[in-house]
């Protein structure tokens, strides 16, 4: 049983996605429990795999017994093991949290909704677990297609935003496919470990250089690094709130994981950071992404739109930290994949809860929100403190690693951008807290009329509190996470 966990993680959600559709014909009430069961199984499998990896090193699973490089291999090491746990945990928390809201707002479309939801998570888990470059492309497209459909379910301009996302996303995925084509052309293999073994003798080749650059461009498009971010704000802000808590924390983070995987495992660190000589340029891109993301977040007038620009800035954190190419910064970048997924989940769940009750998340409508939705706002405060980087929340620790890495690399612009972005985040969130807590300012000498508590459904509150607790726990245990997992995720050549 336990040796089949890598397959189970993918197969159970995949089958569940179809079962949900069938369940929708029989009785729509079965849809959500099936989805929850599939994601719980995936989470359990992922946790077991991480424990297995921690005990005995990387796990390799041959699909249907075909040995690599012919067959498709699933490889789980410290790096993707932890990302698997993050993906399944975030998806499960969001599923549970939004279940009552979905049951009310999408009562007629429960089966398609949950089917797409589970398929989306299957794709993400597959991207993370696979050890085959072409398989990754297929799963990437599964994720993207279901993501487009989920975003298109939103109201107002969501279909248009989703269509724009399709254009950018498809170009990105096509570039990745083209890059893999060049890799196949020069090595004759699609298995990542096999490519990595063949490549070193070909590092002088222009074809390999083209493969790397084209792959990375495609991935930058998919992860919305600054000049290629155009699709993200509208797609995430206009998506139904119940799915933006799934898509926003996971898509960009998983794409960053793919970048790390391609740059470190398929290519060697010596090639990526040494021979290629583009690290500095990409760190500068990341600096611009952080600064521009923060500036654009400042000019927003609604909560979700503001959060999407924070996501863009956070992408800059991780890309910059990774390409600084020293151990501390890379630890920060990998740790930030985990932390940022958790804190983005927390704030987007809070935004979902607010939008469910207020039907709007524009700042002027948030007056008195602390009295109306105290639990939601408590979670939002924890999420905000984590994004700003206040200890003991987890955001502080990854930012600390990133900052020390930036100083160690002597890249002070990156350090300055991080500090600037933290300050801007503080301004952004405390502006919301001010509106929510103090406005409307009393005119008659009395405090504002006591408003009745009007909270979101109980599952949402449970999820919110769980997400907020996770943020603090991740912070308290960040030392253990770094020494036990992330240290093994980063190759030893990087000092």
């Amino acid at each position: 049983m336990s040796q089949h966990f890598p397959a189970i993680i993918i197969v159970i959600p995949l089958i569940a996605a179809f079962l949900v559709t069938i369940a929708g014909w029989i009785n729509r009430r079965y849809c959500m429990p099936i989805a929850a069961f599939a994601l719980t199984t995936a989470l359990y499998g992922a946790v077991r795999l991480v424990l297995q990896v921690m005990a005995g090193g990387a796990v390799t699973y041959q699909m249907a017994g075909w040995p690599a490089p012919t067959g498709i291999v699933y490889t789980i090491d410290a790096l993707n093991g932890i990302v698997l746990v993050v993906v399944s945990a975030v998806a499960l928390l969001n599923l549970v949290g939004t279940s009552q809201i979905v049951a009310r707002n999408y009562a007629d479309r429960l089966a398609p909704f949950y089917s797409l939801y589970v398929l989306f998570v299957t794709g993400l888990l597959g991207i993370v677990i696979t050890g085959d470059a072409f398989n990754l492309f297929v799963l990437l497209e599964i994720t993207s297609l279901t993501g487009y459909a989920l975003i298109g379910m939103g109201r107002t301009h969501a279909p248009l935003a989703s269509l724009n996302y399709i254009f950018m996303g498809t170009i990105g995925a096509s570039f990745y496919l083209l890059g893999v084509g060049y890799l196949y052309l020069s090595t004759g293999s699609l298995n990542m470990a096999d490519i990595a073994a063949i490549l070193p003798s070909l590092y002088e080749s222009k074809v390999v250089l083209a493969a790397f650059v084209i792959c990375m461009t495609g991935l930058f498009m998919k992860m919305a690094l600054f000049p290629l971010h155009g699709w993200l704000p509208n797609a995430y802000a206009l998506a139904p709130s119940v799915v933006s808590g799934l898509i926003a924390p996971l898509t960009t983070k998983v794409m960053i994981y793919v970048m790390v995987r391609i740059a470190l495992t398929v290519f060697t660190p010596a090639y990526t950071f040494g021979t290629l000589g583009i690290s500095q340029a990409i760190v500068w891109l990341a600096v611009i992404a952080i600064v521009m993301g923060s500036f654009m977040a400042l000019s927003q007038k609604s909560l979700k739109k503001m959060l999407t620009y924070i996501v863009i800035a956070e992408v800059g954190y991780m890309v910059g930290g990774f390409w600084l190419a020293n151990r501390t910064a890379m630890t920060g970048a990998v740790l930030h994949i985990i932390n940022d997924a958790a804190m983005t989940l927390c704030v987007f769940l809070a935004a979902c809860s607010i939008r469910f009750k207020l039907a709007s998340d524009r700042f002027e409508n948030l007056r008195g929100i602390f009295r109306k939705q105290p639990v939601t706002m408590a979670a939002l405060v924890v999420g905000a403190l984590s994004i700003i980087g206040v200890p003991p929340t987890c955001g502080f620790f990854s930012k600390w690693y990133l900052l020390s890495g930036g100083i160690a690399a002597g890249h002070y612009a990156f350090v300055a951008a991080l500090l600037f972005s933290s300050l801007v985040n503080a301004v952004l969130f405390f502006r919301i807290f001010e509106i929510g807590h103090f406005e409307p300012f009393s005119r008659h000498g009395h405090g504002p009329a006591a408003e009745r508590i009007n909270e979101a459904p109980v599952t949402m509150l449970v999820s919110l509190l769980a997400a907020a607790a996770v943020l603090i726990l991740l912070g308290l245990y960040s030392g253990e996470i770094v020494t036990n997992i992330i240290d093994y995720a980063i190759p030893a050549q990087i000092s």
Partner: protein, 132 residues
């Protein structure tokens, strides 16, 4: 001149895929009509499919079915060089499915967009969004 000509003629499959890809990219970026953009996106995907298909082909090779296999086939020596490489072609079956699915989702969304705004011209849509 001769060298350039040799480069173009000798590697014509790559030139064709690059030209097609750029046509697709141009359409996605520049065209205002959403359907034209979707077509451009599809041309881009098709270009990459053609690229993959062309790298599997070999001069003078045959389809990858082992000849004389009906009487066991074991006694014949199989030269891989005589057969085209089927793997890129098989990969592209998947990529074609992906491209069709993307096209389907994009067209479905453009129907939704058309119902909502009554037009598929991007500038007209943005004008309507600004007015509302």
């Amino acid at each position: 001149m001769d060298a350039a000509l040799a480069l173009i003629v000798g590697k014509y499959n790559y030139w064709i895929y690059i030209v097609l890809m750029m046509i697709g990219l141009y359409a996605v970026v520049v065209k205002k009509n959403l359907i034209k953009k979707i077509i451009g996106m599809n041309i881009l995907q098709t270009a990459i499919i053609l690229f993959y298909v062309s790298i599997g082909a070999k001069k003078g090779a045959t389809i990858p079915i082992i000849a004389h296999a009906h009487n066991g086939g074991g006694e014949h020596v199989i030269h891989a060089a005589e057969y085209i490489n089927p793997l890129p072609h098989v990969l592209m079956l998947t990529a074609i499915v992906v491209a069709v699915a993307t096209l389907g989702v994009a067209l479905a969304l453009s129907i939704k967009v058309y119902k909502q705004y009554g037009t598929l011209e991007e500038d007209e849509i943005y004008e309507k969004i600004r007015e509302s």
